[in-house]
Amino acid sequence: MLHIINKSPLSNSSLESCLRVAVPGDILLTEDAVYAATSGNAFEGKLREAMGRFKVYVLQPDLDARGLGDRLIEGVTSVDHGGFVDLTISNNSCQSWL
C-alpha cells in the first residue's frame, strides 16, 4: 500500500500516526510533509527508524519549492510527478492521510 502524507510532522500528527499503524510498504511525502525528510529536523530520527520498515519517497518539486532540495536525508528516494503516478500504479491501493 502507498501512504501519501502532505502535512509537516512538526505541526500535525498524520505522519506519526501513519508510522504507528501502517503495515510496511511505501510512503510518499508531498507538500509540507517533505520537511520530514530534511536533515536536522526534529522528526528525522523517527523517519530514519521507519525507513527500516518502509520505503520512503519524497516529491522533489515540493522539496525544491521550499528551498530544501539539497537537504534530503540519505536513503529517501526522490520522485517527480511522473514517479508519483508510477507509485500509485505499482501499489494495489493508496491512502492519503489528512
Binding site: S8, D32, N41, D62, D64, R66, G67, G69
Partner: protein, 123 residues
C-alpha cells in the same frame, strides 16, 4: 498604548509556505498595515520559520514564489523581524539559511516581546 495613534502591531507566523495560504495572506495584511504607518513587528516561529528559507524554487509546483517579498519589506519600513531560536534549531536551520536579516530570540524574550504589543495577529 503608544502615542500619536501609532499602535504596536505584531504578526505571528507559524505556518510553512505553500502548503496552506496563511503565509501569503499574512504578508498581504502586513503590507496593508505598513501603509497606515503603524509600528509593525513580524514573528516567525514553529513551521513559520520555513517561510524565510533561502533558495525557494517554485517552478515545479506552478505556484508564485513570494519569498522575495520578505526582502522588500525594508522598503516599507518594516524592519523588525524576529525568529524564535528553538524553532530554527528543531528544523536543522541556522540564521545563515534565512533570506533576510532577522533578530533571533529565545522563547522567553519572544514571550516578553509579545506581551508589550497593542495588537497581535496570528497566521
Amino acid at each position: 498604548m503608544s502615542e500619536g495613534g501609532v499602535k504596536k502591531f505584531m504578526f505571528v507566523n507559524r505556518k510553512a509556505p505553500y502548503g496552506t495560504i496563511y503565509a501569503l495572506e499574512s504578508l498581504e495584511v502586513v503590507l496593508i498595515t505598513a501603509a497606515f504607518d503603524q509600528d509593525v513587528s513580524l514573528v516567525f516561529m514553529d513551521d513559520g520559520v520555513y517561510q524565510l528559507k533561502k533558495g525557494q524554487q517554485t517552478k515545479g509546483i506552478e505556484t508564485k514564489n513570494f519569498s522575495p517579498t520578505y526582502r522588500a519589506l525594508e522598503g516599507y519600513d518594516i524592519e523588525k523581524l524576529y525568529v524564535e531560536k528553538e524553532s530554527l534549531e528543531a528544523r536543522g536551520l541556522t540564521e545563515a539559511d534565512l533570506l533576510v536579516d532577522v533578530t533571533v530570540l529565545g522563547r522567553a524574550e519572544m514571550g516578553a516581546l509579545m506581551n508589550e504589543q497593542d495588537v497581535v495577529l496570528s497566521f
